[in-house]
């Protein structure tokens, strides 16, 4: 129940509350809209288009070949002792 207030009718109280509600909603909408406008565009960074081979910027295929070469070299070195 709305408390009685001298000099202010029930209708007036509803009117004030309604106006405040509307103003709050409008402010919220403005804030939402402005923050949406101010926000940076969604980032769609592409994937890095190269692989990393000990810091070298190479393709995935090159990395595999380099790793295979390194493995071959290691196998050669290991075999050299026998």
């Amino acid at each position: 129940m709305t408390p009685s207030t001298p000099g202010l009718s029930r209708r007036a109280w509803f009117g004030l509350g309604g106006a405040a509600l509307m103003a709050t909603a409008a402010t919220a909408w403005r804030l939402r809209s402005s923050s949406a406008e101010a926000a940076p565009p969604p980032r769609a960074d592409a994937a890095i288009p190269y692989a990393d081979h000990d810091g070298w910027m190479v393709s995935t295929a090159e990395k595999q070949a380099l790793q295979a070469g390194a493995a071959d070299l290691a196998a050669d070195r290991a075999g050299a002792g026998h």
Partner: protein
């Protein structure tokens, strides 16, 4: 002519403080135009590396003292001799956030005049060759350095227009009451005591005491406790910059022999750098950076790998990057209460790279790597530790009396005149508003020649 004491009735058209590359180049150009010049130098005949400053940050301890030489010839006596010409972007790079108040093109004739002073041919000025899209190759002549004391000492001794007074440090600058002109200099005498050299409003005084020395003079404490002359806006000493060097920051294998690209009429050693072209640099927000790829590795496994895969020779080079720092107000020199051997306040110099200065080296390397990959012309290696954990400098102290149109954010204007003063000028790397990628000496000399032209009414704009 060399003096042992101030003449009793001095009459000079221009007074220059400092007998290094800037001061002597300016003096000789003025003399050639018929002006009588007094050059005052704190050191003597022999170059002295002193304990003038203490560094904090990325260039700590006495690091810069190795590059701050007092004596005839100044820092040329310790210079390595490298000459590079800035690019137009170095004068106006949005990523740096500061613009030189002079037109880049107006400097070209002065770089050409400066080249023979530094024993280089003018042909290399402005030379560049395309390497791959987005990057150009620019030469870095690295012949024997020009020692100004040896080269120009006999000229100075024989000159009747240039008088050189050694071993007289300037320990005071006196302004008029309105702080619109310099009225005198206080000089410390070798035998003790001081003498005052009066100057008139019609006598320009050029402070050419080095990248840190210029700030030291404009920060000289005053007996009356007032603001030092030239620091009325509080900018003197701020915006200290170096050229951070990221040694062996990367590697490259490429199908082009980088060391073949050299101007035919230049006798330089073949040192060169790759520099990002303005379009690429602006697109990626790059600061200045020179990628030195002059150490070719014979028979490198990556060169063998790509050579075998592509059926054409590949070459491997190590990359050292010399980059740019964004000017920052907090990087600054401040006088301490300690006095150096010349009776001047020892400086505390704090200079700290920010994350973007480091990242610029990586971004520039990756831009090159992506281009080489796209064109299938080569590959790049990024050495993270060398970029982010190990910093060298080059002894380049820049920006401490920087040039600009706004007196609130700069010390000198586009004519290198101290804001507010009619007869006080600064020459040297301290006026650089930004560092760019280039070694500074040839631009220091070029700006000194330009200043001489301005003082004689012959400057080009």
């Amino acid at each position: 002519m060399f003096l042992t004491d101030l003449p009793t009735a001095p009459r000079y058209d221009v007074v220059i403080v400092g007998a290094g590359p800037a001061g002597l180049s300016c003096a000789m150009a003025l003399s050639a135009a018929g002006r009588r010049v007094l050059v005052i130098e704190s050191g003597g005949d022999a170059a002295v590396v002193g304990d003038h400053s203490v560094g904090y940050g990325h260039f700590a301890g006495g690091y810069w003292n190795q590059h701050w030489v007092r004596g005839l010839g100044g820092t040329s006596q310790a210079w390595t001799g490298w000459c590079t010409i800035p690019t137009p972007l170095d004068f106006d790079n949005p990523a740096v956030g500061v613009t030189w108040p002079i037109a880049y093109e107006s400097m070209t004739p002065y770089w050409r005049r400066a080249a023979p002073i530094l024993d280089h041919r003018a042909a290399f000025v402005g030379y560049q060759a395309p390497f791959v899209p987005g990057f150009v190759y620019r030469p870095v002549p690295t012949m024997a350095p020009t020692r100004f004391a040896e080269k120009f000492g006999p000229v100075l001794r024989a000159s009747s227009e240039i008088h050189v007074l050694l071993e007289h440090p300037v320990v005071g600058l006196e302004p008029n009451a309105a702080r619109s002109t310099l009225t005198g200099l206080t000089l410390a005498r070798p035998a003790g005591g001081t003498r005052r050299l009066a100057v008139t409003p019609a006598q320009p005084v050029v402070i050419a005491a080095g990248g840190l020395g210029n700030a030291q003079l404009l920060l000289l404490p005053r007996a009356d406790g007032g603001v030092s002359v030239g620091n009325e806006s509080g900018v003197a000493g701020r915006y200290l910059m170096e050229h951070p060097q990221f040694t062996l920051a990367g590697e490259v294998v490429t199908d082009a022999e980088l060391d073949r690209l050299w101007p035919a009429d230049n006798t330089g050693s073949g040192m060169h750098v790759l520099v990002a072209e303005p379009t690429l640099a602006r697109e990626r927000g790059l600061l200045g950076a020179g990628l030195q790829c002059s150490r070719k590795t014979p028979d490198h496994p990556m060169a063998r790998f790509f050579g075998a895969a592509r059926g054409r020779p590949y070459f491997h080079y190590e990359i050292t990057i010399r980059g740019e720092m964004r000017p920052a107000e907090h990087n600054r020199v401040v006088p301490t209460t300690e006095r150096d051997a010349f009776g001047l306040p020892r400086l505390a110099a704090r200079c700290v790279l920010d994350a973007g200065d480091h990242r610029n080296a990586e971004d520039t390397l990756r831009a090159l790597g992506e281009t080489l990959m796209r064109l299938d012309r080569g590959r790049v290696r990024v050495n993270n530790d060398r970029i982010y954990h190990q910093i060298d400098g080059q002894g380049h102290t820049l920006g401490t009396t920087r040039m600009g149109a706004d007196p609130e954010t700069s010390v000198v204007d586009g004519d290198c005149r101290v804001h507010g003063y009619t007869n006080l000028f600064v020459a040297g790397s301290s006026v650089f508003p930004s560092g760019g990628y280039a070694n500074p000496t040839i631009t220091i000399v070029a700006l000194a020649l330009r200043l001489a032209d301005q003082l004689t009414g012959k400057a080009t704009t």
